[in-house]
């Protein structure tokens, strides 16, 4: 099943209007709702993969969703190692996924 966002008007606890926010993820504009975490915006836009494992190149994404596992680290507005699940998306946030985790990039060092 793809990730999805429930319509805010159908929220049985506190139905409300959605205030949209737009963030920039690796150059692409993604729309979310005010109050969502960056991980929430990513998942609602079907962006589930945040990195690949070094051995096996298997996709990895949000795992625990509560700030413990650190598997959703992204760069936000130039700050590295931000947990996407713990940071609320703000209009205009610039998020970088692609370049943060290039663990296999050995340029600049000796073998």
């Amino acid at each position: 099943m793809p990730a999805r966002m429930l319509p805010a008007g159908d929220d049985p606890i506190r139905p409300h209007e959605v205030t949209p926010v737009t963030i920039v993820v690796d150059g692409e504009l993604l729309e979310g709702a005010l109050g969502q975490s960056i991980a929430g915006v990513l998942m609602a836009n079907d962006r589930l993969e945040l990195r690949r494992t070094v051995s096996g190149h298997k996709p990895r994404g949000v795992f625990c969703g509560i700030g413990v596992c650190f598997d959703c680290l992204v760069e936000v507005n130039g700050v590295r190692d931000v947990r996407a699940c713990q940071r609320r998306a703000r209009d205009g946030d610039v998020v970088s996924i692609a370049d943060v985790h290039s663990a296999t990039d050995t340029s600049g060092g000796a073998a």
Binding site: V54, L73, S102, A103, T104, D105, S107, G109, A110
Partner: protein
């Protein structure tokens, strides 16, 4: 060979003993008080170190282990197939550096003594050390390269050894509460009583790491194995900026020390996934596993002295574990001279991952009467340096 054996402890040492004994044809049972591979084996860094060992029995065992590991990795891969994860064996090499002027001469003297004992230990010019590790603090005063130092992923390695043991017929019982020994009329051990069963065997092996002292006491003998706590810090993933196992030369002093108070010494290395592991601490505080902030900050501060770039890196977690400390700093492998049928395979302190497999092979050779690949005398429970610690069985 016919016969049966019970191994107490399903960490890497117990798993190695199980594999070697099951392959020799013994009916093998491994019991663990918790889940297999959840104790010391799961709490370390996966070191196969030559660099920190001074000439002597443990270095001899480590050099032998070094010749065995590459073959073992192939044997396990062939047995377990491609579905089993890689043990991530990597002979990445170690770089030991002195940070102060005073530490330079002792490091170079130590390396010279190791070279006489057959260790590859290359003195480097500072510029060459910085070529190997470009992010290293350029203020270092001496550097020695140890190309033989290697690492494995310890949990996968132990699980692989255990899986291999099972394929050779061993059974593994988890969450077993040990109650006491079963002795025959001559006082020889012929099994153990557990919370809900009696297990009988021709031999009982204690391979319980830092808990070996407690297990021995339950079985009626004293054993001077004590827990020595250590902590590791883990950074977030990054592009590779550390290329070897890099230590501050004072690490060797901390390993060889018997001091019970807190000692910290820098050990920095990166993992395949890009996280950097930062150690180390040594402290004898019983089995108190609480997080210690003073220890963590001391480890972090010393690591930054080695690699200044670490000051800006995020620590995503810290973990701790207990090493099985021996008062004479030599692993214990062989028969207990006080109780017939009782054997030991423990006391490797921080070296059990690297030394586990050859310990299992040595123990199996001693139990089955095969020719051991190593002289077993220095590891024997009846060695002179342990005399003061081993009282007669009750």
């Amino acid at each position: 060979m016919r016969g049966s054996v019970i191994i107490i402890g399903a960490g890497i040492v117990g798993a190695s003993c199980a594999r070697s004994l099951a392959m020799a044809g013994l009916t093998t049972t491994v019991v663990d008080r918790a889940v297999a591979v959840s104790g010391t084996t799961a709490k370390g860094e996966g070191n196969l170190l030559i660099s920190d060992k001074s000439p002597g029995a443990e270095l001899t065992m480590a050099l032998h282990a070094l010749t065995r590991w590459p073959n073992l990795v192939h044997e396990l891969a062939a047995e377990l197939g491609t579905d089993f994860p890689s043990v991530e064996f990597e002979a990445k090499g170690g770089l030991v550096v002195a940070i102060t002027a005073a530490a330079a001469a002792p490091l170079l003297a130590f390396a010279k003594a190791q070279r006489m004992a057959g260790v590859e230990a290359h003195e480097l010019e500072i510029a060459d050390a910085l070529r190997l590790e470009p992010e290293l603090n350029p203020a270092i005063t001496a550097a020695v390269h140890y190309p033989q130092d290697a690492q494995v992923q310890p949990v996968i390695a132990a699980e692989a050894l255990l899986a291999s043991a099972r394929r050779h017929g061993a059974r593994v019982l988890q969450s077993v509460r040990l109650v006491g020994p079963i002795l025959n009329s001559d006082g020889a051990i012929i099994g153990v009583r557990t919370g809900d069963a009696e297990l009988r065997a021709d031999a009982v092996v204690i391979a319980a790491g830092p808990w070996s002292g407690e297990v021995a006491a339950t079985l009626g003998v004293s054993l001077p194995v004590r827990p020595r706590h250590g902590m590791v810090l883990v950074t977030s993933r990054m592009r590779q900026r550390v290329f070897h196992k890099v230590y501050d030369a004072d690490y060797v002093g901390a390993v060889g020390s018997g001091d019970a108070s807190l000692q910290t010494s820098s050990v920095v290395e990166s993992t395949a996934s890009g996280n950097v592991l930062i150690g180390s601490s040594r402290q004898q505080i019983g089995f108190d596993s609480r997080l210690r902030v003073d220890t963590i900050s001391e480890i972090a501060a010393k690591a930054i002295r080695l690699f200044p770039f670490l000051a800006d890196q995020a620590i995503i977690r810290t973990y701790g574990g207990f090493r099985p400390f021996m008062p004479d700093h030599v692993p214990l492998v062989g028969p207990d001279y006080r109780v017939e049928g009782l054997w030991h395979a423990t006391g490797h302190e921080g070296a059990g991952i690297g030394l586990g497999p050859v310990t299992g092979e040595l123990l199996a050779a001693l139990i089955t009467g095969a020719e051991p690949a190593l002289d077993p005398a220095p590891f024997s429970p009846s060695r002179a340096s342990l005399k003061a610690y081993l009282t007669e069985a009750a």
